[in-house]
């Protein structure tokens, strides 16, 4: 029996009168890669923001490592071992890379002053070893502004690898990347499983999702409308389901 890592129970989230998540129940096991799929506005981003502590749910329970938890902040979810990779959006353009990598969890002395030397050294390690940047144009002192989409994504990844977390949350990890860079990202996701780490990711591209995920959860207008294990559904069938959902607004349940 697989060991449970994260469980969401009856999660509701409203923004004003808009019900973004309605009674969502999902579970992620250790070493499992789960793909969240659904159209724009299905609630995918909100759901992962609940997991990473950006938003608190209006009601419902969250269990992490079989203990009930209330994730109130990003700092807290990180401490528990949940790490988010929000594409380039979670980097600040005008700040240097070594500051971006450690933003929100700076290496400091006991008075709160940054250990710049150590941050730069560790950032250097992340750039060269984890991300594999070889270009001389990018250094730890570069501003994020000058980086390409793929490079920014790489920095966000490197950061999550460095902080060694149990659950990695990936928000559209392949968007805007070249084929080669996409391949790297998917390999990274597959590599997680070998270390018994879990990942949950959102992607519009079912072709990417299919290769890398063990399980698919389909969200539609805030509700989970379908859940499939990879061994039970082929890529073509999954695509069919999504088209069907798109056209009719529901998934036909087969027996």
């Amino acid at each position: 029996m697989a060991e449970e890592l994260l469980k969401l129970q009856n999660i509701y989230k409203n923004f004003g009168n808009v019900k973004v998540l309605k009674d969502v129940n999902i579970k992620i096991n250790k070493g499992e890669v789960v793909a969240l799929i659904g159209d724009n506005g299905a609630g995918k981003s909100t759901l992962i923001k609940v997991i990473t502590g950006v938003h608190s749910p209006n009601s419902g329970k969250v269990f992490f490592k079989e203990k009930e938890v209330q994730i109130k902040s990003v700092a807290q979810s990180r401490k528990m071992g949940i790490e988010a990779v929000y594409q380039e959006r979670a980097l600040c353009d005008q700040q240097e890379l070594y500051r971006n990598i450690f933003a929100g969890r700076e290496i400091t002395n006991s008075f709160g002053f940054l250990d710049i030397k150590k941050q730069r050294k560790e950032a250097e390690k992340i750039l060269r070893d984890y991300i594999g940047f070889t270009s001389k144009a990018i250094t730890v002192d570069s501003q994020v502004m000058g980086l390409s989409g793929g490079e920014k994504q790489g920095v966000a990844f490197g950061r999550s690898l460095y902080f060694n977390s149990d659950l990695i949350v990936l928000d559209e990890p392949t968007m805007g990347l070249s084929i080669q860079e996409t391949e790297k990202v998917l390999n990274f996701v597959k590599g997680l499983k070998n270390e018994n780490k879990s990942a949950i990711f959102i992607d519009h591209n079912i072709i990417h999702v299919y290769g890398a995920a063990d399980r698919f959860i389909i969200l539609d207008r805030g509700e989970v409308v379908g859940e499939f294990n990879k061994e039970d559904i082929s890529r073509e069938e999954l695509v069919q389901k999504m088209i069907q959902l798109h056209e009719s607004g529901k998934i036909k349940v087969e027996d």
């Binding site: 990003v74 933003a103 929100g104 502004m145």
Partner: protein, 325 residues
């Protein structure tokens, strides 16, 4: 030469270098145009005496501006904290500690109010602080009933008067020493403390900063609180220098202070700034009036040239920024 221009230091300090060049040119003009004034010490002593009053606030306000926020209420915070300082000093027969603690606490409280209005209520800082600007000044008028307070009897000749405003070696005004020390300290915090780091990230991109686990609201609140504290401190310095409280105290600080920050190169869009630049900005803005008069122009030119400096400086920065993008 080309090598020098492309060096890492130059590339990362374009703003600081530009502002320093502007200041050097300005002082050269003073020096050549009015050598009889600028080759002698008294003019520099006058600068050192007067600049710290708004300089301290400008350094502190750089944090708020880097957030992409603004505080227009500090002139009135100077007013209300100076009033309280004066009242406590006279009523306790010169108890410096109580007066200092209460005045700076009130300053921090005023900053806290600004911070809460901006973060928890969600009022844009320019609007919220116009409100508190009037509120604190109004309170000054109500409490003081328009009269001033002399603290000369309880402050003159005391050790606190000495450490705040008397002359070191009979030459250097103490407030200038404090100004230099505070500038150094704040520069250190701005660049190398977690708080300064968070200021940059929140000013750069609030949403990203939040996703990286930075408590955006707290960072903003603390920024307003420290500005409240330093406004109170500037008020206390002024009180010791003048030995008198007057109900309009602090009025007139707003434009020179903010001008120093913007001339210094801190971006009004947030995310980038420089304490060193603000320091140079204080030297420029604080020297203009005497400089212009010493050059033989009438006092009527002061505002005109002030305006010219600010406009030229912010245009240069905007162009540097645009080339980068």
């Amino acid at each position: 030469m080309n090598n020098l221009l492309n060096s890492y230091f130059v590339k990362t300090h374009k703003l600081e270098i530009s502002i320093t060049i502007i200041a050097v040119v300005l002082f050269l003009i003073y020096f050549l145009g009015a050598p009889h004034v600028f080759t002698r010490f008294p003019i520099y002593r006058a600068f050192m005496q007067s600049m710290p009053f708004f300089g301290i606030i400008a350094i502190s306000a750089t944090f708020v501006v880097t957030l992409g926020e603004i505080d227009l209420s500090f002139p009135s915070i100077v007013g209300i904290t100076s009033l309280i300082f004066g009242i406590i000093m006279t009523s306790t027969g010169g108890n410096f500690f109580i007066a200092f603690i209460l005045a700076t606490s009130l300053g921090m409280f005023a900053g806290l109010v600004n911070g809460l209005l901006v973060t928890k209520i969600g009022i844009p800082s320019i609007v919220a602080t116009i409100g508190t600007l009037f509120f604190w000044r109004g309170l000054v008028n109500v409490i003081s009933q328009g009269s001033g307070i002399a603290i000369v009897d309880v402050a003159d000749g005391t050790w606190h008067h000495m450490i705040f405003v008397e002359k070191l070696f009979g030459k250097i005004p103490m407030q200038f020493i404090w100004f230099i020390v505070l500038t150094g300290l704040m520069q250190w915090v701005y660049r190398y403390h977690k708080f300064g780091n968070h200021i940059h990230f929140v000013g750069d991109n609030k949403a990203s900063a939040q996703m990286m686990g930075i408590n955006v609201d707290n960072v903003k609140i603390i920024a307003f609180v420290q500005l409240g504290f330093f406004s109170a401190l500037a008020g206390i310095f002024t009180m010791y220098e003048m030995l008198y409280f007057w109900p309009t105290q602090g009025e007139g600080l707003m434009l020179t202070t903010l001008a120093a920050v913007f001339v210094g190169g801190t971006s009004v869009f947030g995310g980038k700034g420089t304490i060193f630049g603000t320091f140079i900005g204080v030297l420029i803005i604080g020297s203009l009036e005497s400089g212009i008069v010493a050059l033989g122009l009438s006092g009527f030119y002061v505002k005109f040239i002030n305006g010219l400096m600010i406009t030229v400086a912010v245009t240069v920065y905007a162009l540097i920024q645009r080339r980068k993008n």
